[in-house]
């Protein structure tokens, strides 16, 4: 079994001699070419004539939709973070009504599909309260949804702070509030940044479901262009690329944050 050439395909490890080829570059290129080949092959087999001009005429509509998705995701992230913090504290609270309400909230939201939540919230609950604005309601729905997941992230973060630290804090005379403010939250905040970034990516993707209540975000706008031009692939491919353009930098940032903070601990 020859081993020298095989090292070209393995990530370099300190335990072995260095690779005889530029491994990272070579392999990334190889995989990219392979994926490109699959795409080209699939598209060439389709009996589909691409007609980009029609869709290009609607580029402003695409951009408007993308902008709306960003706005919705941004506000939802902030509100869901607040909700998540609130209910994470609730899940650790000794005040039973608060504790049970928090657990109820988390279980219900995590146990039902977002699609169902959107329909029930907008057509039943919001309507009962005579709230008609679908954009505000959309942000509320997304925030409630993400808030439940964020509260679990924060709760796990709080639990990861060792008991002894809290005991030390108590022995120093810090109040419960001071313990949270000076000991727990500064550490938890850093630890949850990576999963929070992941949650932002999910938010951006999940916001596409708001299209079913006609919130004019990215996906709905692409679907409308498809309806006007009958050019489905030309409408949806830019949609996919657009989402990737936003989400990739965020997940990349998240990975880098993860590495930075694990180094510190």
């Amino acid at each position: 079994m020859t081993k020298k050439w095989m090292r070209c395909f393995l990530r370099e490890s300190g335990r072995e001699a260095p690779s005889p080829c530029p491994s990272t570059l070579l392999n990334a290129l190889l995989v990219a070419l392979f994926i490109l080949f699959i795409f080209i092959f699939s598209f060439s087999r389709l009996e589909y004539d691409f007609h980009w001009a029609g869709v290009w005429a609607y580029r402003a509509k695409f951009l408007r939709g993308l902008g709306m998705t960003l706005v919705l995701s941004f506000f939802s992230l902030i509100v869901s973070f607040l909700l998540g913090s609130f209910f994470a504290l609730g899940q650790k609270s000794r005040f039973l009504p608060f504790y049970f309400f928090s657990r109820f909230y988390v279980e219900i939201i995590r146990g039902t599909p977002l699609l169902v939540q959107i329909l029930v919230f907008f057509y039943v609950i919001a309507d009962a309260f005579r709230v008609q604005n679908r954009y505000v309601t959309g942000v509320v729905i997304l925030s409630l949804f993400a808030g439940a997941y964020i509260s679990e992230i924060i709760r796990a973060g709080i639990d990861s702070i060792g008991e002894t630290q809290l005991e030390t804090a108590r022995s120093l005379g810090l109040t419960r509030f001071q313990q949270y403010r000076f000991i727990i939250f500064p550490q938890v905040f850093k630890r949850i940044l990576p999963p929070l970034a992941g949650q932002l990516v999910s938010l951006i993707k999940d916001s596409s479901l708001l299209s079913i209540i006609s919130v004019s975000e990215f996906t709905l706008n692409a679907q409308e262009v498809n309806a006007y031009t009958y050019s489905t692939l030309e409408s949806y491919l830019p949609l996919a690329v657009g989402y990737l353009l936003i989400t990739y930098p965020i997940s990349n940032l998240s990975k880098r944050l993860e590495r930075a903070f694990s180094y510190e601990t």
Binding site: I212, I213, S214, Y228, Y230
Partner: protein
């Protein structure tokens, strides 16, 4: 032993792939959205049923080909046709110039027209009222109602939905002034929501909407055959039979109201 397992997996995958695609070349794949009673719907056992389904089977008998019905959402029908997933669309689809750029239509076999389901408290009294700022119109994605609204009511806000039920709900909950759709569906929904809606059934378009079966532009043979079928079906009283079977009551009501009905091109 290893060879036997590999051999077995190989044969299994061959069988799997053989089952893929459309198998027999002779099957006529018919696409429709089973959400438009009594033309395209499902019976209690979940099987496709309705006027268009019956017509599809009659077409199959005429061409001596087995028929398979594919349930596809309305705005996905033309893309499915273009990519070869289906061979013909029989889904009460209106013949329009724009659609004719992508597909070819058979001779018209029915006519319909757009009507309005109006919210009880809305200030809209006639169609022209819709073209003003502050009016909200609910439409179903990709339908002629959607396209008509876009062209004729530029000052109004147009909310686009996937499902007819969502549009009706929007009108009932006063989130939209009206829903634009075909006269019969509007009529039926008005009957179902007498307290919250009213209907404007008088035709307001320049001309009727004519329904046709859609096929790929290069499928000239099928185009010829379908037109031949429609000719023969009409002569044999096929349409009358269908109207009698499915639309008896509605026809009576419409005749009483003095509003034009479907199968009289």
């Amino acid at each position: 032993m290893k060879e036997k397992i590999i051999g077995f997996l190989f044969v299994m995958s061959l069988l799997l792939f053989a089952g893929c695609g459309h198998g027999e070349k002779n099957v006529l794949n018919v696409g429709m959205e089973l959400a438009y009673p009594p033309f395209e719907m499902t019976d209690k056992e979940g099987r496709p049923a309705g006027i268009s389904v019956d017509m599809a089977h009659e077409l199959g008998k005429f061409l001596n080909r087995p028929v398979k019905i594919w349930n596809i959402s309305f705005d996905g029908l033309i893309p499915s046709l273009k990519t070869g997933k289906i061979d013909v669309i029989i889904s009460s689809m209106t013949i329009t110039e724009e659609r004719s750029q992508s597909v070819t239509f058979s001779n018209p076999y029915s006519k319909a027209y757009l009507a309005l389901l109006v919210s009880k408290d809305s200030p809209v009294e006639k169609v022209e009222d819709l073209n003003s700022k502050g009016r909200v119109i609910a439409v179903k994605k990709g339908t002629t109602g959607h396209l008509y609204a876009r062209e004729h009511f530029p000052l109004a806000r147009i909310n686009v939905f996937d499902k007819e039920s969502a549009c009706v709900l929007e009108v009932v909950q006063k989130k939209a002034d009206c829903f634009i759709y075909d006269q019969m569906t509007i009529f039926t929904n008005w009957q179902k929501n007498p307290d919250t809606t009213r209907a404007i059934l008088k035709p307001f378009q320049k001309d009727f909407e004519y329904w046709g079966m859609a096929m790929r532009k290069d499928d000239t043979e099928l185009h010829r055959q379908v037109n031949a079928f429609l000719e023969s079906f009409k002569e044999n009283g096929g349409f009358d039979r269908l109207a009698e079977k499915y639309l008896k009551d509605e026809k009576e009501t419409f005749d009483e109201l003095g509003i034009p009905f479907f199968f009289s091109p």
